[in-house]
Amino acid sequence: MKHYLNTLYVTTQGAYLAKDGECVLVRVEGEDRLRLPIHGLGGIVCFGQVSCSPFLLGHCAENGVGVSFLTERGRFLARVQGPVSGNVLLRREQYRRADDPAASAAAARCLLTGKIANCRAVLLRTARDHEDKVNAGALRGAAERLTDCGRRLDPGLPLDVLRGIEGEAGNAYFEVFDHLLTNQKEEFRFSGRSRRPPLDRINCLLSFFYVLLAHDVRSALESVGLDPAVGFLHRDRPGRPGLALDLMEEFRPVLADRLALSLVNLGQVQARGFRVEENGAVRMDDDTRKAVLVAYQKRKQEEMRHPFLDEKAPLGLMPYLQALLFARWLRGDLDGYPPFLWR
């Protein structure tokens, strides 16, 4: 099985990344801070004012290491991609299916099944583990609504209807999301999704994790030779990685939402680690951002059993495995795409 490769996050402003032999060299103010062999890396994510030498970028492209540039606050800016590789037949098949409404709807249905089931699992898990601290009744009620949404995902439904069900499921989930907090409830009150900019601390955390997750899922798709831009549930729009967003849906509750919640519930992030700006936007400060990145990396190293392949792997490898299964479905080796179901 593929080895789980690490991701390097550079948040130090003014850092310069260069190629040194087969290594990535991180230099800050003329001083060599870190030298990492490129073999162990799967991606590099640069925040804010971080520059990269062209030779390093070329070397990364050659070795299949994805490099993303984000603003200091974590908004996605750009990504460096090497020569297009992978199987052209596979990609063509992907385009063909994305053009076919029935096939897209079938894919979207599988993706939504995964998303709804995982949202539901997150709610039920909290309701079970923290019966005494949370409003378990409300959580179970919402889980029931999600079950209902999941049941209505019949084969043959057109995309519009599927999207309607997705919206409904999303509402049911985020309506009770605030109940999942067991600690620091006042400071981290959640009253609905807000983004660009996030208007409260929880939204700030969620948005940040979604960007990180998108980077990982995108790299996974590219490494199996799929085009991350051509999605099924998310239709084509310039600059939007549609398929990456599609595949992300099933990972959001597990890798991002639950992690954001546990950071708050365990007090690993504090309310004072966030700043509120004049326009109401909430931003993390540098220390919080670093703590959050470390937590994300640690989470990805936890092992779990893949529900479909029945093999143990780090959580960070799951997007790769799902991308692989997606490619197998496109190739016709599988009759449907088996979504990632978290238990």
Binding site: H3, N6, T7, L8, Y9, V10, T11, T12, A15, D20, G21, E22, C23, V26, V28, R33, L34, R35, L36, P37, H39, G40, K290, L293, V294, Y296, Q297, K298, Q301
Partner: protein, 96 residues
């Protein structure tokens, strides 16, 4: 897998110093320097074959010595560090 590479290169002449430099460079491409002539490399079998071949090509077996210690993939339990210059865990979170 985790391989510890340590070397001793005779550096009395210019040729020896050249070998030392080139061996160190090969190790640096694949691993992390933890002490002056000790490197920790996390490599897969293919990468190890490459690194090993490169090291053997650079060395002079009459005068230098190379030692490889194979610590497998469960190496975390087998390494203990005391004192200055702790090594970075290349498989842990990398945030700088």
């Amino acid at each position: 897998m985790f391989v510890l590479v340590s070397y001793d290169v005779k550096t009395e002449d210019g040729d020896g110093r050249r070998r030392l430099r080139r061996i160190a460079k090969a190790c640096r491409d694949y691993g992390q320097r933890v002490q002056y002539s000790v490197f920790e490399c996390i490599v897969d079998p293919a990468q190890w074959t490459k690194l090993r071949a490169r090291l053997l090509r650079e060395m002079n077996s009459e005068e230098d010595s190379l030692r490889f210690y194979f610590l497998g993939s469960n190496w975390q339990r087998r390494v203990e560090h005391v004192g200055a210059k702790p090594a970075l865990d290349l498989e842990g979170p990398l945030v700088i």
